[in-house]
Point group: C3
Chain length 315, copies 3
């Protein structure tokens, strides 16, 4: 590992496309150590004296809380700036460039959330002294979400190749699904079943790749030996005709009966959260349900690892 | 004390009713040590590496500031989440359960403020890994306010039994008064005089108890040897007829003359704050006035003690 | 230096007028050490255990971020309270006095931003235990802005006397300009050229002083050997007649051509920020442009120094 600690040092983390199996291996190895820090080896002073500016142009308590806690779990601290377009000099007409140049002066790393696609890449090109980490830019990228999903599979299934999985729900608009598939395509021998309303089919292909995609039309077509299910929400507003939504909605709710019928014993059930009814609460108690138990925490561990890496302080 | 340090470890603090004289003795002993930390023995690293999520569904700068400072005085840190119902996934329809499960993943303790009575008890039943502390749930409980009031009497009068006191103002709706009386009822030989407009009399009784309650009708009926006065606000909106309010309002303002006429020399004058005129500013300089001098600080010390206890790190 | 470390200990920082060349020398010497801390000597524990309450009655992400980072760069922490008039007991009618007395109880220093002139002086007269630092009170004072401007000249030109400079833009309303001139007037032999629309001329005089002021009417009257230019914004809303604004506006934008024609090689180009077009973006790359490169960071260093001084912990 010693020669890998320099990975990402000082680098902007703009897109999931920056990662390959080798760098993911580094990241996930460190994320596991971070879990140990947060659970058993506190206090850590790894990032003592380091400051992250959490620059959020739109609210996102969950992502902000995760990054905020990640810095603090490692003994670092944060400066929180929300809605600068409304409450700061940006409201007086200051350019995005001047805002980024201002807030980078106070800190060692900027974590940026912005409603406009491409704005994190723009910020990365502006910042002269500190790395910028993408915490979601509109319908663009949200790389740490993708990283935590892959890390969860890696950790709980022990590998990222030779997997059989299911992704279900809104595959057309589901940014997290697209990133997950991109990630699995980096490894060999994965096969993923796609279950979606006909209005919300996957819009992308992975030709000439090791990733095999198989469209299924109903739950009874799901193979009984999946390693994971990755469930997402079907949003009412995606349908021009409300009746179409009502027709498909019930088919896209995970119940205990459905899990017991179609799921394997060793599988894990994932969800990017938030959920609004598409997995029944009763399922939470099933040991296979990992969205609350593992994914949320893994998000913090992956962010801890990423912050340590870009700050050049990975353990 | 050694055998008492385990008190409250990992426990939710939902209601003042969880406390008895033995546990209050533990808490107040530690709160005194916390005053020493904040005033003379800084920096403390008692809670280094620990994170409290301050989850506030309604704003309360005072209570939030007190808890926030309490963690930081002890070398801990906080993740602040305000109005998650508006700014986070909860706005997208996420359940209260998922919100609690999410934010507990980032921290070691949740401090929860919520406008609905019972929501802290609900959160406590949801949280699987961390204790939840009630920072006020609507017209329900606000146990740390009650604890700081009792601690202030204990500290400044040296005991919580054999006291003679006065509570005045709105005794009908005054949550802090009700908790104070409950607390004094845990000890022996206390007598409390009640002074309130006839519309706002105390709605509860303490039959078969050691606490003696005596209703008085006017200031000249207050015994001259009280150990404490606990004053509260009479709110205009409690009266259906504004004329009734005007009639009683002047009688429920503490002036220096009134304090000198009816108060004892050794008494303390308390108020839960905020006040809006019901104690004249001139009275602040009187050494008996402890609402600004002691109660606010004591609130922080009690919260420091409570955080240390539930985190299993009491000194 | 040893005998100077006590400077400002426990003092309120309300106005720039509290400073003289001797105390500025102390402050700037420490600010240079602070730059070393932030850039090379992290982590610092100088302010470990100390808490600053950032009490902001109006939003100002830039100033708040700078103070917030300043505390954290030194191992201290902050309690952030925004808009207490809206979100705290102040909303219930609590007096300014009670609000200050409350928040001082939680911390070691209050940093106060308020829209009303004089409110910081008022807060300073109320606070009984902790120093109050002015982070801007309406059209009144914003002393740390003035201090960072002087520090920038001192650091980059090596002295604060015998300088030749230009101030340009809105000299009538420009609070930062007035403070800068006051500062330069503390030292000997400075000459400052004033370039402003006739509607926005400097409203003050410095009679019987060492500071020489010379009004110029156009860019070609600027002497070619200035040590600094200090540029400010001409705001449209200052003109009753929009046509007047249009007429002057173009003359008050710094372009690369203008800088190359009228500026000296060794000069520095300053701006208090935010800017809204009055310095062309292309100029940012010029080594003489120090508003983004130096001034923002210097603001943090000066605030670090000031916090350490009032807390009695200057290195």
């Amino acid at each position: 590992m010693n020669d890998l600690k320099g990975y990402f040092k000082g680098e902007h983390i703009v897109s999931f496309d920056q990662f390959d199996p080798r760098s993911l291996d580094v990241l996930f190895t460190i994320a596991k150590q971070m879990r140990e820090v947060a659970q058993n080896a506190k206090p850590s002073r790894l990032l003592e004296g380091n400051i992250a500016t959490l620059l959020f142009y739109e609210p996102s308590s969950r992502t902000m809380g995760s990054f905020d806690a990640a810095m603090k779990q490692l003994g670092g601290n944060t400066v929180v700036v929300t809605n600068p377009q409304q409450f700061s000099s940006a409201a007086k007409g200051e350019s995005f460039q001047d805002t980024i140049r201002t807030f980078e002066a106070y800190c060692d790393v900027i974590v940026l959330r912005h409603p406009e696609t491409g704005s994190v890449a723009k910020a990365a090109s502006i910042a002269m002294h500190v790395p910028v980490i993408n915490a979601g830019d509109g319908i663009g990228e949200h790389p740490t979400q993708a990283l935590l999903d892959l890390f969860t599979i890696f950790e709980l299934k022990g590998r990222l190749s030779g997997l059989k999985g299911l992704v279900a729900g809104d595959l057309l608009n589901g940014r997290t699904v697209h990133s997950l598939l991109k990630g699995l395509n980096l490894y060999g021998g994965n096969i993923v079943y796609l279950l979606a309303p006909k209005e919300l089919q996957l819009p992308m292909e992975f030709p000439d790749s090791n990733l095999t995609l198989v469209t299924v039309e109903d739950a009874h077509d799901i193979p009984r030996d999946c390693d994971f299910w990755y469930w997402t929400r079907v949003q009412k507003e995606r349908f021009s005709n409300p009746a179409d939504y009502e027709r498909v909605n019930n088919r896209f709710v995970v119940t205990q009966a459905m899990l017991d019928t179609y799921g394997s014993r060793h599988m894990i059930l994932m969800h990017p959260l938030p959920r609004v009814g598409e997995i029944e609460d009763a399922v939470d108690e099933d040991p296979r349900a990992v969205y609350l138990k593992s994914q949320i925490r893994n998000g913090m561990y992956v962010r801890m690892a990423l912050l340590a890496l870009v700050l050049g302080k990975a353990p």
